[in-house]
Amino acid sequence: MSLEITLTVNGKTHTAALEPSTALVDFLRDTLGYKGVKLCCNTGECGACTIIMDGKPVNSCVVLGADAAGADLVTVEGIADGDALHPVQQAFIDTGAVQCGYCTPGFIVSLKALLDRTKNPTAEEVEEAISGNICRCTGYTKIYEAVDLAAKQMS
């Protein structure tokens, strides 16, 4: 039995069918084609599939697609303004925080959600915002630096 839902992703409205058991990450990737949402642990632990759902960052692997009916979603594909990268995106490139880059969309979305909430986050707030995102390449040092650089450029 499949059902049909309507939702908004990065300002665009989609109506599509899905199985009740389909995870949101699979629906976004396989049905709607948002491949920037990265699939990894399927247990809500690594943050690679982070999206913003009605203003809040969520791990889309532990949300059912059906629960996104009527929701307003932002994925990593919706963060740049046309060709102009968001300061967080640019800072990740400039500081070398993008190594393999697989965790990068999740970090960027988590940080975007934070910066939408508060313009001048404290170090503790930054750490809290990305404490659910795992990176195995950088050891986080370059990610700390990217956040600092983006904050400077935004203030």
Partner: protein
Amino acid sequence: MAKAEHKVLGTNMPRMGGVERVVGKGIYGIDLNLPDALCGGVLRSAHAHAKIVSIDTSAAKAIPGVHAVVTAADAPDVRYGRSYIDRYILAKDKVRYTGDPVAAVAAENQALVKEALGKIKVTYEPLPVVVDTEEAIKESAPTLHEDMPLPKNLPEGFQVKNVCGYTGVNIGDAEAAMADADVVVDEVYETRMIHPQYLEPRVAAARPEEDGRITVWTNAQAPFPVRTEVASLTGQPLNSVRVLSTDIGGGFGGKGSGVTSSAGLEPICALLAMTAKRPVMIVMDKAEETISTTIRSGAKIWIKSGVKKDGTLVARQGKVLYDAGGYSGFGNQAGGRCTQMVGGWYRLPNIHMDGLTVYTNKQVCGPVRGPGGPQATFAMESHMDSIAAELGMDPIEFRLKNVPAKGDGIVGVPKLRDSSLPETLNTAKEKIGWGKVKLGKNQGIGFATGAWIEGSGPGGGAVVKVNEDGSATVHIGKVDFGTAARFGIPMIVAEELGIPTGDVTVLNVDTDASPWDAGTVGSRSMLVSGNAVKLAAEDAREQILRMAAATLEASPEDLEIVDKQIQVKGAPSRSVSMASVCTAAHNEIGDVIGRGYFDSKASQVHEREQGSSQPFTTHAALVEVDTDTGNVTVLKYVCVHDVGFVVHPRAVEGQIEGAAAMSLGQALCEQVVHDSEGRTLNPTFVDYLMPTINMLPPIETVLVSGYPGAGPYGTKGAGEIGSVPPMACIANAIYNATGVRVRRLPLSPENVLRALREAGK
């Protein structure tokens, strides 16, 4: 040697492919979109050790929408392996670890794959299980491989069972020197298995082509070895197999050097596609990966050293039991390296080491980030601190007394051209504030040094094609996952050709077109592809200058390329654009194709004759131990490294910091836990703890210079050495804070608290 001035090298250019990664383009293996592809899946053994009595696939094959069900019976009777050829792609007759692949299915969708896997009826006859290396070598232990002989080089006294590799180190007369020592320190250390846990799952896809060939897509680190093994294991001629690499979401050796040291996924996928006569794609589940793919093995290490009262090391003896898992995998290579590194990289005239690699009923050893090195160094550098404590010496002074100097030999290196080890020690001491910083209650500072010897290994080539607009396309056999291929390699081409880095495209590997290469392994991207690309770019530049010389009426030696203009040195107004020369080339040589290669054998001869410069490091940590809970907090962490000339500083720092973080994870919390029946108790990310940003402080990396290596411009490998010291470094800091030596990883609250309580603290 580095030139006096570089325009591009040594700067932090944006990595190639950076924008695609921050905006979420679908570039990885997992993002492959193969029209008409079936989903594939693998049935894995639920037993750690059992005979396969029978496999009945009829019910699975009968499900509508299931297009292929394969077992060992459907594959050629060919095994694979590195030094021991001991493994089938699908288990035949026996399974040897929980997660051993037994059968595979291709079906219309994932739900059908799951259903079909559930309907394959395997009848097992369970056998006794052995998960511990010390137990596995006992006569009473079950035999894992009845038809595998013991290693030919196994010495008298080590004729024990389940051994699949032996490495000996024999320098001087360790026994006599030990008897003469003033002080002898004898210890045993133990490390546990960790999983590399790259974030992108393993992916393989295969498509039978109309012309009878087969195309394989993979996110493996070594496409050419994958080609060799897919051909041999599916019974195809080599030239019928084409392997295409995708961008890769992390590997760390886990997506290792070919099928042998990874998941064996590509030949299984190819077999499914050939059987179904349809494209098939397999995406592994993360929990499936944790129990079945290759890992950083655990090791048990006995280490005994003799010293003079003044702190001079005179002898070392030791033994290593290195866990291969159910098959030899990379175990012999990693266990051998581990054994050598327990011998150390200090001036030590008498060493005797015996290293055995041992089969157990666990998943298979792979080449994860410095294979063998972190384990060896946990023991060796903890032991160095124990000796210093026994002598009442400062741990830095004790090490400085024994560091090798120019002209000395160390294990694996007959003669050093120079030695950066003292400078890294002194710099680490200063940066962490040893003797200066005021330590709080239960705070301590620890040090550990490290090395990652660059020795023998395969060579590799490069082709630099210059297009008619002056841009360059680069073919190498190395793949990218945030390493040199897309950071430093384009910069070398830009530097040598006088063009912007953004005009250089490094292609993914296509085994039909790319130069052969052993893969992105062994910290060798810069050494192999860097050297090859430099020569290829120089070759291309010579061709361009030769053609421009006629136009400019000058000799090629008097020309230079600056910002895509070829000009006469000292008379820049006499110039012609790269684009016009490369376009005109169509009427002469077609296009400009530069070729270069790294001749590994010649390089080894050169290094042996001239002495070699090796990468050395010292790490320093400031920690605080909660003596009520055993919890260890890392307050400050410094990595001082010599990696020779640095092409892209941030890329190198990132490699070092990431490697350090993985070993800090192993120091503090990471381990794959098995029960006595060989079942993995923590397969998912919920149970497998890894460092997150709030667990680690920002890591400070310091790069010392002046010790050029064998890479282009004097670079040295930087990818793995950062993983070598951290476990010992943290253990030494805990000792400094509490006076308690913990000799078994992880240094988790549970283990640290137990050690504190046993010491009466």
